[in-house]
């Protein structure tokens, strides 16, 4: 059984067909890319998979279970975590708490346990804190555990956001333009990080990216969207040479010459 299988996924906003008949299968362990020109519907796909939008058509099967239309926090608990194009960390909470709260669904205690400070609370809270500390250590973020994310440099904020997504303990990690707004040095580090977390956490990663260097350098398989339609899929080399992709990105040759 595939880890994540997307069948005939589509969504309409009023009369606008934002995504139509998308089919993607993740067997588990791959690093898949989703590319396309601006407004192609890439982030919309992620918004549907992470439960923020309810699809108008199709199914999203996570380990055989249809998660389309489930409430967002349940989808996270089932194993899908994501980052955002424009970083959405909780800026009024420390980096430590950002990673801690992302473990909310697996905390293992509730309101009464927290109020009574009983054994369940103490054990689970200690465990959650240990998980956070380990993650911070692994990502080299331990020195900014008590910082507020907004005070960190941009590259580090990206790293914290990836850390927060990892704290959810996902099976599938969705990265929405992780290299957006980064300088070349940071991009190099980020690619290193993505490769490394995939090994370390045995994760399946699906990423949206605009910078071709990142997509071509990281992904084994790429889906190309344009106006909500899948116009090509294949290995980076296949996609690069696909005339429809070139057309979508560079425009029609005839028009360009005119």
């Amino acid at each position: 059984m595939a880890l994540l299988e997307i069948r005939h996924l589509g969504i309409y906003f009023g009369g606008l067909r934002a995504v139509h008949d998308l089919n993607v299968t993740l067997q588990g362990g791959e690093l898949l890319g989703l590319i396309g020109p601006n407004g192609a519907g890439k982030t919309t796909v992620f918004n549907m998979v992470s439960g923020f939008y309810r699809p108008s058509a199709g199914e999203i099967l996570l380990e055989g279970r249809n998660i389309a239309g489930l409430s967002t926090h349940k989808i996270a608990a089932l194993g899908i975590a994501r980052t955002f194009q424009n970083i959405r960390l909780w800026n009024e909470l420390t980096v430590f708490d950002n990673l801690g709260i992302a473990q909310h669904h697996s905390l293992g205690y509730g309101f009464w346990d927290a109020v009574l400070h009983n054994k369940s609370y103490r054990q689970n809270e200690r465990r959650a804190r240990k998980v956070t500390e380990e993650l911070l250590e692994l990502l080299g973020l331990h020195h900014c555990a008590d910082e507020y994310p907004k005070n960190l440099p941009y590259g580090l904020q990206r790293r914290v956001e990836i850390g927060r997504a990892l704290a959810v303990r996902p099976k599938v990690l969705l990265l929405d333009e992780p290299a957006a707004g980064m300088n070349p040095g940071d991009v190099e580090q980020l690619m290193e990080l993505v490769r490394w977390i995939r090994q370390e956490f045995k994760l399946t990663i699906w990423l949206i990216e605009h910078q071709m260097r990142v997509v071509m350098g990281l992904c084994e398989y790429i889906t190309v969207l344009d106006f909500g339609e899948t116009i090509a899929e294949g290995t980076p080399d296949q996609v690069r040479q696909n005339p429809r992709v070139i057309q979508a990105y560079l425009g029609d040759e005839d028009v360009a010459h005119a």
Binding site: G51, A114, E125
Partner: protein, 341 residues
């Protein structure tokens, strides 16, 4: 031992106050002010959970207070007194001493259920719109009580003094004062534990970015429900105590004016700061009493103070910080940072 030092200190402090009240070192007026301080501590810190930590704007706190006040008062009078229309005199007055906390709690539970009136709409709306809903709930509660003649309607409801007297006759102690001190202490412990747990910090994440919170697995509906019910439940208990301090309640006590008073305390102390709420509840109650000679002019002076505060220190006295952040040495009384579980 160190872990509980703040609790022990608080109990010692309460014992001292009760002793002083018993021995007559502090007169009835001072006791009354102390009781108001305690009630205001409960009210402001519980409202801070919603307005400060969760970032919603609830302006109907007095409505929940009213629910608690009426439920507790009606229960007590029905159970323990004999000469009113409502009274059932089910139990002799001497039982009041044990059952007073139970009726308080029932009042709190009733108020918590009333809190659902705000909690459920909060799943779909927030900000200004939710603020209007809280205002509406405040009016619904007040008008409902005004129109139920069996509990006095607009004339109000009285007789709680008899219940208090029944308790003092059984064991001669200032029971209402004791319960106010106890509930105020418990309120702080419960709220502090909740907002310091990773579970409770979820409400701060909701304030900060609700969508991100949901996507990261925070069950925002559940947390909102807990926060609203806890906050309104505590307000209900405070209302029950308030009714027994006054001995008489009427719907006119629990209007938007009262809600505003609590809100002023929250914003004065600082949003998202429990110690701020406690300090401002104490300070505000004392200022109100000190300005009593000014009579109605105090309602000119106090809003003026508020304007100055908003101009020069909009985040309140403490503003998202606790006393332990400003005076780290105070941590000794709670826990050192490393052991904070």
């Amino acid at each position: 031992m160190q872990r509980y030092s703040s609790v022990i200190l608080y109990i010692a402090f309460c014992a001292l106050i009760v002793m002083a009240a018993q021995a007559g070192w502090i007169d009835a007026y001072m006791q009354l002010v102390l009781m108001y301080v305690g009630i205001n501590v409960i009210l402001s810190s519980s409202l801070n959970l919603i307005n400060g930590y969760m970032g919603e704007f609830s302006c109907g706190h007095a409505g929940f207070m009213a629910v608690g006040a009426y439920i507790t008062s009606i229960l007590n009078i029905w159970l323990f007194t004999s000469d009113q229309t409502l009274s059932g005199n089910v139990l002799s007055g001497s039982n009041a001493i044990y059952l007073f906390p139970v009726t308080l709690l029932i009042g709190g539970v009733g108020a918590a259920l009333a809190g659902l009136l705000v909690a459920v709409p909060s799943f779909r709306t927030r900000g200004d719109y939710l603020a209007i809903i809280t205002l509406a709930v405040n009016y619904i509660v007040k008008s409902s009580i005004e129109n139920i003649q069996a509990i006095g309607g607009a004339r109000g409801f009285m007789g709680m003094r008899k219940v208090v007297n029944a308790m003092t006759e059984t064991v001669n102690l200032p029971w209402v004062l004791i319960w106010i001190l106890a509930v105020a202490g418990l309120t702080i412990v419960v709220l502090k534990r909740f907002v310091n747990s990773t579970y409770g910090k979820g409400i701060v994440a909701i304030r900060d970015d609700e969508i991100a919170a949901e996507i990261m697995g925070v069950d925002s509906k559940r947390l909102k429900m807990i926060a609203f019910m806890l906050s309104s439940g505590l307000a209900g208990i405070a209302g029950g105590l308030f009714a027994h301090v006054l001995g008489y309640i009427n719907p006119g006590t629990f209007t938007i004016m009262k809600s505003t008073e609590v809100m002023v305390m929250v914003y004065l102390g600082g949003m998202g700061s429990l110690s701020g709420s406690v300090l401002s509840a104490i300070g505000f109650t004392l200022i109100l009493e000190l300005l009593r000679p000014l009579q109605m002019f105090k309602w000119v002076v106090i809003p003026l103070l508020l304007i100055l505060l908003m101009l020069f220190r909009p985040e309140g006295i403490m503003g998202h910080r606790e006393l332990t952040d400003i005076f780290p040495k105070l941590r000794w009384f709670t826990l050192s940072k490393e052991k904070q579980i």
